[in-house]
Symmetry: C2
């Protein structure tokens, strides 16, 4: 199948598939005599895996690592578990930071419940911040 068909089957674009090949996420495709990329149907599964990895918040670099392990003939399960653990920790930290920021902003707002422009000196630009 050609790159456009594969892209449609996998829910992405031809441009993105060339980009993935360039980044080492897809192996270099076979070529027709005229130079067109020619994919086997199971390429869809590989792209689906990339999408599942992205849905789990992994970067393309991390997904490439997993694929490289699998391509090397080993099972990447343990590496995947480590990546997911790290991702969970990251997410927890991000949520904590956002929660703190939410509190900070809410406090700023409470500290200026009635905006009174006259009490905002030009020096401090705005009493709100």
């Amino acid at each position: 199948m050609r790159i456009g068909e594969l892209a449609e089957a996998a829910g992405t674009t031809a441009k993105t598939l060339r980009f993935y090949e360039d980044q080492g996420l897809l192996p270099p495709a076979e070529r027709t005599p005229s130079g067109y990329r020619d994919y086997a149907p199971d390429a869809v599964a590989r792209i689906d895996f990339v999408h599942r990895g992205q849905a789990a918040g992994l970067t393309l670099a991390q997904i490439r690592q997993i694929l490289a392990i699998r391509d090397g003939g080993r099972a990447p399960c343990e590496h995947v578990r480590d990546l997911l653990d790290a991702r969970l920790a990251e997410i927890e930290q991000q949520i904590a930071q956002l929660t703190a920021l939410h509190g900070t902003i809410a406090k700023l707002k409470r500290g200026a419940a009635q905006p009174d422009p006259d009490t905002c000196s030009p020096d401090q630009v705005c009493r709100y911040l």
Copy 2:
């Protein structure tokens, strides 16, 4: 004061201050006869304001808008309040997305509590995802 002194006083770098000037966050500085930027002491307050804006999660573009209103002689309080309201909504949405992602990943992990590489088919790359 020269740009290096100002940078140290404001807790940033000379490079960043030139960048801010370029981006319209700081007015073009006075120059000494030899071409050095020459700042009044109150420049520190303006940079502090930029930092407070950043601490509230505003982008430099948003901070520039606020400063432009103040520089135009008006009080930016209402615009600031709108920006903070929008930021709060964004943060809430981000937290919701991260929470959902956290749940998704945790479920993936539970679905594969005992990693068994043999049950991972190469086709699906990894049972975990």
